[in-house]
Amino acid sequence: MSPRTRLWVLACGVAGVAALLAVTVWRLPPFGGARHPYGERAVEAALASRVANAVASVNFDQRAFDTLGEQAILFGSVLGTVVVLRQTRDERRVEPEPAGVAGPVRRYALIALPVVLLTGVYVVAHGQLSPGGGFQGGVVAATGLHLLYVAVDYRALKRVRSVHLFTLADAAGEAGYLLLGTGGLLAGTAYLTDVLPLGTFGTLASGGTVPLLNAAIGVEVAAAVVVLLARFLDQAIEIVTSGEEGDRAPGTDGAPGTGGARPAGGTGRADGADGPHRTGRGGAG
């Protein structure tokens, strides 16, 4: 299809969807209306199970099985990313050079680091009481850990962050959620039913399984984000493809003749070419 035809097809599609949307929005419930039957029932159910944050109750009690599906998507995409961005046979690792960081940046980032990590844990732990929970707190804690990269350098981050351990933690979070769900089965009711004592409204231990499921999700999300960023950082900083050193013909003229079928290190130039990344390379994969 020529680019011109493609633009016409796109214009027709966009115009059609836009027209349908323009007709539809007038029949949607008006913005800010007072009728929210599901919301009212969800809030009642949340109060009945003594969870102060109704959103956490919906996520981890009333729709816990749906959240299981959501986090399966999360787990699956992390797994896919890890597999796609692995170090292949024709790639090598180069040690990144230590980089200087301005004094103030280093100081403030190192001060902020423990605060951010603690905030992340706090947000996970208070998920059933105040806005927050496993999803948010996990991301906060995991991105906070990367302040170490800003403050010192990549090697410091690597020393602290064992990707292997975080991969295990990711799987442990997923398994924890699955196993907590079987508590309901053991008690003779449905999977993922809240069977633990509900506790006192408004305290840390309230809500039965909600805080536990929150913690499992928190571990999984935090580990998932760390593993994802580790893979991307690896690719961007450390891993060097043989093609990156220029040992194959460039395919920039629109005639793709180079590619995956080519044997690794095809022309044998990979080990002789120049380049700033040559010195001090690590073990080949």
């Binding site: 959103v55 947000v123 906060v140 991105t143 991307f232 093609g243 990156e244 460039p250 920039t252």
Partner: protein, 88 residues
């Protein structure tokens, strides 16, 4: 007139979203995506959804732009070394 903040936040989101699509350079786009994440977090706050705002703030302003930047770095480094070979 208590819906003025909501309307302003909505317009801000619409502008930031349009700008993010119109920015063709991925590096600049990642910055505009960060602004979009911030605008969305603001919108969610005025829509009384602090849970979502918190998660959008962490994901939209930090995680997504960072991953885009790292991908660009990987892809560019490769393209640069290929160009260098062409000049050799």
């Amino acid at each position: 007139m208590d819906e003025l903040p909501v309307a302003l936040a909505l317009l801000l989101v619409a502008c930031a979203g349009t700008a993010a699509v119109a920015t063709r350079d991925p590096v600049r786009q990642s910055l505009v995506l960060g602004v979009l994440g911030l605008a969305l977090a603001l919108l969610f706050t005025v829509l009384q959804a602090p849970d979502v705002a918190l998660s959008q703030l962490a994901v939209g302003t930090a995680l997504t732009p960072l991953m885009v930047l790292l991908s660009v770095r990987k892809v560019r480094r490769k393209a640069r070394s290929e160009r260098r070979e062409e000049h050799e």
